[in-house]
């Protein structure tokens, strides 16, 4: 046993040595402050510190989970996040496929760069633009009118609002996915297509049987990473677009907790909710990793 250990150590020491600086810093700066989690179980008083503050057990959790509104925000958060992941992936893949059909490399690169741009615009500014575009007499509704549709209250109609969030987010962020997926497509071995053409496959079949399957691993990576954040459905976006009338469908966990902080600087409840989010994210991410590994033998970590 000890011998085996020594042998392994003799072989692995360069790896351990390489890891050392990162591990030390991570241990200090990421693991060091972890004890802060106990705040979730305390009536935290900065003056008394972590050691002196009163223990309240699960009171913070009880208080927050007793609220029907909070449970509602959990549902909203999941719904909005998951829809965002789905639509963002769809939009990115479709647009990447479209770009892939363009043979002019200069144009391709230009288009790619342009769709990436909205990623750089902050939600504060984007919200300002969107609120104008989506007003009852805004451009979008004027266009709908041309087609004979009734004006839609994108921002203040409770049923529409979550979809407003999902589609505006899709529009703002799909460029990143497009860059990634397009790059994957260009790295596909051309021989695969050539042999497909010999077999008589058209463009559509090539896409279906070669391009898409080659995209799967990276879609999995992106989705897994996104799932880790599924409980953060985009604070900046929601905060800058929502209003009380759409709280029932548009309020997410982070905006709800933010409003808590306005009232009384409720550190402990914030920490409790944070811990809850961490645990749920862990479960989700582990599950998706296991599924990816078991079904397709993909390893992310």
């Amino acid at each position: 046993m000890l011998n085996k250990f020594k042998k392994t150590l003799k072989r692995d020491w360069p790896f351990l040595l390489m890891l050392l600086p990162g591990v030390i810093l991570t241990a200090i700066f990421s693991y060091g402050p972890l004890y802060g989690i106990i705040m979730a179980f305390q009536d935290f008083n900065p003056g008394l510190g972590f050691a002196g503050s009163k223990w309240v057990g699960l009171d913070n959790f009880r208080l927050i989970f007793k609220q029907a509104q909070f449970l509602n925000t959990i549902y909203n958060t999941f719904f909005i996040s998951i829809m965002k992941i789905i639509f963002q992936t769809l939009a990115s893949v479709v647009f990447a496929l479209q770009l892939n059909e363009i043979r002019n490399n200069g144009a391709k690169r230009l288009f790619q760069t342009i769709v990436y741009i909205p990623n750089f615009v902050s939600w504060v500014i984007m919200a300002g633009i969107l609120l104008n575009l989506l007003a009852t007499d805004g451009i979008v509704n004027q266009m709908l009118k041309v087609f004979g549709a009734k004006p839609v209250q994108f921002i203040s109609n409770r049923k529409v609002f979550p979809w407003t969030l999902i589609f505006t987010d899709m529009w703002k962020t799909f460029g990143f996915g497009t860059v990634v997926y397009l790059a994957t497509m260009t790295s596909i071995d051309p021989e695969l297509y050539e042999s497909a053409i010999i077999d008589g496959a058209g463009r559509w079949k090539q896409t279906l049987y070669i391009t898409l399957p080659m995209l799967v691993p990276i879609i999995i990576l992106m989705t897994v990473l996104a799932l880790g954040n599924v409980l953060s459905a985009g604070f900046d976006q929601v905060y800058n677009l929502y209003s009380p009338v759409v709280y029932p469908t548009g309020d997410i966990i982070d905006t709800y907790v933010y409003r808590l902080g306005l009232q009384n600087g409720k550190y402990a409840i914030g920490t409790a909710v944070g811990l809850f989010k961490s645990v749920v994210s862990t479960v989700l991410i582990s599950t998706s990793l296991i599924i990816a590994y078991k079904t397709a033998n993909y390893k992310v970590f």
Binding site: N45, P46, G47, L48, G49, F50, G52, L63, I64, Q67, A68, Q69, F70, A127, G128, L131, L134, A135, T136, D137, Q153, I155, S156, N240, S243, P244, V245, Y247, P248, D251, Y256, R259, L260, L262, Q263, N264, G265, K266, Y267, I269
Partner: protein
């Protein structure tokens, strides 16, 4: 040697120490420790202005606007204030940290408190005050307050006897309120486009009906709808006094508390007349007095509607002139296209009351480890002496040094305000504008507001509109407020102090109200549903809050 000689020698020696100390004023950069002593020094005999014989070091922290500008070669640790404290009081002030922009002050202070390394003097909110009391980290200031603060500051208690009681525990003072510029800045108004209002002959608006008539006439002639409000409902709620209800700010989760006929304190949203307000608001939404899109407007959107000339009215605070004045005049290309305040009309035409909330936000406290609390009191008195005492005579140079470039906010934790300041300021400014005699403008605020107003009046410089609308003419916002205050047409909140601790047992109860109210206003639900909404609010924590407020403020 005779006794006389000896005392003379000692006096000389003492003077030398003081002078040598004065000579080597060395600024200590933010985040470093000072050179003065931190041990106990017997406070000098005489009034608060007598300097310490040995330089005393006081550590503090502050949050400060990013707009403070220093003269060339000066800094946070070397400026008119720090030098004056050093030279006039014998106190060296050093900063553990400064939060420029004042966005993270509360956060940083909480974290600093958690490290256990407290500054000597600092500013806290009431939640932090409560926590520090519980932890026993701040000291009893009763004795030093009575002995080493100026009479002027102690006289603030005459203007406002209630506020300091909140930090007086078992007869001992643990915190000094920073006070405020005055309740004169509390009441809100219905601001109206001046040019359009005058076109209708500046009618006196006493009743809501008259208001609606005026609104409709103006809308017909000029704009898309009448009142611009935003989706937080904060500004719609400001119109409460029109219906004899007084409301808080939904976006901040706070309520206005009033005593009902039975003597019980209740939230404004529970007032029976609130349903009248809802009826009117819903009607306004239908009739186009409110925008069909008001739920789309955030703060900027709300103001944009006014600047573009799509709306004519805005319920707002006394400082509306700064907010929309310059943009409006520029966008409408007319020197008459700014807004002026009107008193709110009421349903029955009765006198409207000015809404006054609890104005004090912060408290100045001294760490229990501080050996020289008297120094803190001297520093407070000094700020008041420079900023508000009419008997203080400063040279132009000193005056500039203390107040130019927003430097009046340099004292930070020692910045105490005269609760009469804005009232006195307004009286002096308006008088100077009317008479042209500027000799009685003795504070920086007065000089600034006066010259701002004059620059609008004479040169049509839009930068001066804010001050002008606040203080510059008969009918300006402070003029309206003064009328309300002088005649005691005032509705003070019955929760005169911070929210009780039991509020911590509730979460986001305001959501129920703001969602429900917006639905009613938009016609999605009938007004009758409000009973149910209110019942839900009580069940979700409203009851806890109401009980707690009565427990604490209705003894």
């Amino acid at each position: 040697m005779s006794k006389k000689w000896l005392s003379l020698l000692i006096a000389l020696a003492m003077m030398l120490t003081v002078f040598s100390a004065l000579a080597d004023f060395t600024p200590v950069p933010v985040g470093s420790t000072g050179n003065g002593t931190r041990e106990y020094v017997e406070p000098p005999e005489g009034d608060w202005k007598t300097p310490y014989s040995e330089i005393v070091n006081i550590r503090t922290v502050k949050g400060q606007g990013a707009d403070v500008v220093f003269e060339a070669g000066e800094s946070q640790s070397n400026n008119e204030w720090t030098r004056a404290w050093y030279n006039d009081l014998g106190i060296e002030v050093t900063y553990d940290w400064i939060d420029e922009g004042n966005t993270q002050y509360t956060q940083k202070l909480n974290m600093t408190i958690s490290t256990g390394n407290l500054p000597d003097v600092f500013r806290v909110n009431y939640i932090q005050f409560r926590q520090l009391m519980k932890a026993g980290l701040i000291q009893d200031l009763t004795e030093v307050y009575n002995k080493y603060t100026s009479q002027r500051i102690r006289d603030y208690e005459k203007t406002d006897p209630d506020t300091i009681k909140l930090t007086t525990i078992d007869g001992k003072i643990y915190g000094i309120p920073i006070y405020y510029y005055g309740v004169i800045d509390n009441p809100r108004y219905m601001w109206v486009r001046k040019d359009w209002y005058e076109e209708e002959g500046s009618p006196e608006i006493k009743t809501v009906e008259e208001f609606e008539k005026l609104a409709k006439t103006i809308v017909e002639k000029h704009c898309s709808y009448a009142i611009s409000v935003d989706n937080t409902l904060d500004y719609l709620f400001m119109t409460g006094p029109m219906f004899n209800v007084y409301l808080g700010q939904p976006s901040q989760g706070n309520y206005f508390w009033y005593k009902d006929d039975t003597g019980r304190i209740k939230a404004g949203i529970a007032h029976p007349e609130f349903k009248t307000a809802l009826e009117y608001w819903a009607k306004w939404y239908q009739d186009g007095i409110l925008s069909p899109d008001f739920m789309n407007y955030d703060y900027n959107g709300m103001n944009e509607e006014l600047v573009t000339g799509r709306a004519a009215f805005q319920p707002f605070y006394q400082w509306q002139g700064w907010l929309n004045g310059p943009n409006l005049v520029a966008a409408q290309n007319s020197n008459d296209a700014y807004m002026i305040p009107l008193q709110f009309p009421t349903v029955d035409g009765s006198q409207v009351l000015g809404q006054v909330g609890f104005p004090n936000a912060d408290v100045i406290v001294v760490s229990k480890d501080c050996k020289n609390p008297a120094a803190a009191m001297k520093l407070l008195s000094y700020t008041d002496y420079i900023m508000f005492d009419p008997n203080t005579v400063l040279t132009d140079e000193q005056f500039k040094g203390f107040t130019d470039g927003q430097r009046e906010h340099v004292p930070g934790a020692f910045e105490i305000l005269d609760p009469q300041a804005d009232m006195i300021q307004f009286e002096h400014v308006l008088k100077a504008i009317k008479t042209g005699d500027t000799s009685e403008l003795f504070t920086s605020g007065m000089k600034k507001k006066y010259s701002d107003s004059i620059s609008w009046i004479n040169e049509k410089n839009t930068g001066g509109l804010g001050a002008f609308c606040q203080q510059g003419f008969d009918g300006c916002s402070y003029d309206l407020a003064k009328y309300l205050l002088d005649n005691d047409y005032v509705k003070r909140t019955d929760m005169w102090g911070p929210t009780p601790e039991a509020f911590d047992e509730t979460v986001n109860t305001m959501d129920i109200i703001s969602t429900g109210v917006s639905e009613i206003v938009m016609g999605i639900r009938p007004v009758e549903d409000y009973d149910q909404i209110l019942a839900d609010w009580y069940a979700a924590g409203g009851q806890i809050m109401e009980d707690a407020v009565n427990e604490e403020y209705n003894k």
